[in-house]
Amino acid sequence: MPDPGSYILLGAVLFAIGMVGFLARRNLIVMFLSTEIMFQGVVLNVVAFSRLHGRLTGDAYGLFLLVIAAVEAGLALGLVVLLYRRKHTLDAESWSAMSG
């Protein structure tokens, strides 16, 4: 098993890529997919940390992260569907009317 440093680096890269997607893309669904990539980075990181310390706490955290991801996906998709019904587009920028 490669040592945790590699996993932490990999997690950081995945997190950064996901963040790029969330900030730069305008399609609501792709934005949410990007947040899920960030989750992947985090899951890898917590498991790696947990291996670093020789414990399984990180695995449990990973499972809770999965729960959070499922919750997020459910609510996010509900919102996306609602927003799509209103404006017939998935463009996040079409909802910028309220931004100052």
């Binding site: 950081a12 399609n27 792709v30 899951v43 609602l82």
Partner: protein
């Protein structure tokens, strides 16, 4: 030394993503691919030189780590949302393999079942339902890509700057782990023999031991989310009036006897 190499690599990687970002003028996909693969190769080479002791699992680690980064880059840069979803499935599979390499089989399989089996399929469902005809500006024009890349990779760089301080030698999974290594007050360290008997069992003992309250809380969270999602999306939108005379509800149509 390592952090500076990493900063350079991240800068180059950011450039690759910038090149691959969907732009109205068309993205320089080939250049981005070459640059991206180069950056990934550099990153993996760096990892192999600095972090990893030679091991039979390393090949799989490098393969799937590289694939995961490549696929993740494709998720955020592909102009077609369906492809983004497919590449995301690839990311999930790669991460699952990486988890298996870390001996977290249960987590890996749970990841596949929940993400690939449920979440992503739901995404695919919505993508298909809300499918626009042809390419739309939503997908072909990124929003401030330069700033986004800058912010994200600065954060990644901040993590990378500290990476050298992580102990290069992994702590063996034994009962003799000194308590000082971890600040977690609850005793969750498991001896290596129990790890051998199965990740599932060990993780179950943790989940339903010290973390029982959290498990219950996440159950409540899921319930709330379900109620919330149903409340959000059940709303019925009235159809536009077509101008045709409407019969009151209950009187629509003609009654016809069965058969």
């Amino acid at each position: 030394m390592i952090p500076y190499i990493l900063y350079v690599l991240f800068a180059l990687g950011g450039a690759a993503i910038y090149l691959a970002m969907p732009k109205p003028s068309g993205s320089q996909r080939r250049a981005a691919l070459v640059l991206g693969v180069g950056v990934i190769a550099g990153l993996l080479a760096l990892m192999s030189m600095h972090f990893v002791a030679p091991n039979s699992n390393n090949f799989f680690f490098y393969m799937f780590a590289g694939l995961a980064i490549l696929a993740a880059g494709r998720v955020v840069t592909h102009p077609v949302p369906t492809y983004s979803a497919v590449y995301f499935a690839l990311v999930i599979l790669c991460v699952a393999v990486l988890l298996v390499i870390q001996r977290a089989e249960f987590l890996a399989v749970a990841l596949i079942i929940i993400y690939a089996g449920a979440i992503l399929v739901t995404y695919a469902f919505v993508i298909m339902l809300a499918q626009q005809s042809g390419a739309v500006s939503t997908d072909t024009r990124a929003r401030e890509p330069l700033m986004a890349i800058l912010v994200s990779f600065v954060i990644a760089g901040a993590i990378a700057g500290k990476i050298e301080q992580i102990d290069a030698v992994p702590v063996k999974m034994t009962a003799q782990v000194p308590q000082a290594v971890t600040d977690v007050p609850i005793e969750t360290t498991l001896p290596a023999t129990e790890m051998e008997s199965g990740h599932t069992k060990a993780i179950g003992e943790i989940m339903f031991g010290p973390y029982l309250v959290v498990v219950e809380l996440s159950g409540i969270l899921l319930l709330i989310a379900m109620v919330g999602a149903i409340a959000i999306s059940r709303k019925q939108v009235p159809i536009e009036d077509t101008g045709e005379p409407k019969l009151p509800v209950g009187q629509i149509g003609r009654e016809v006897p069965p058969f």
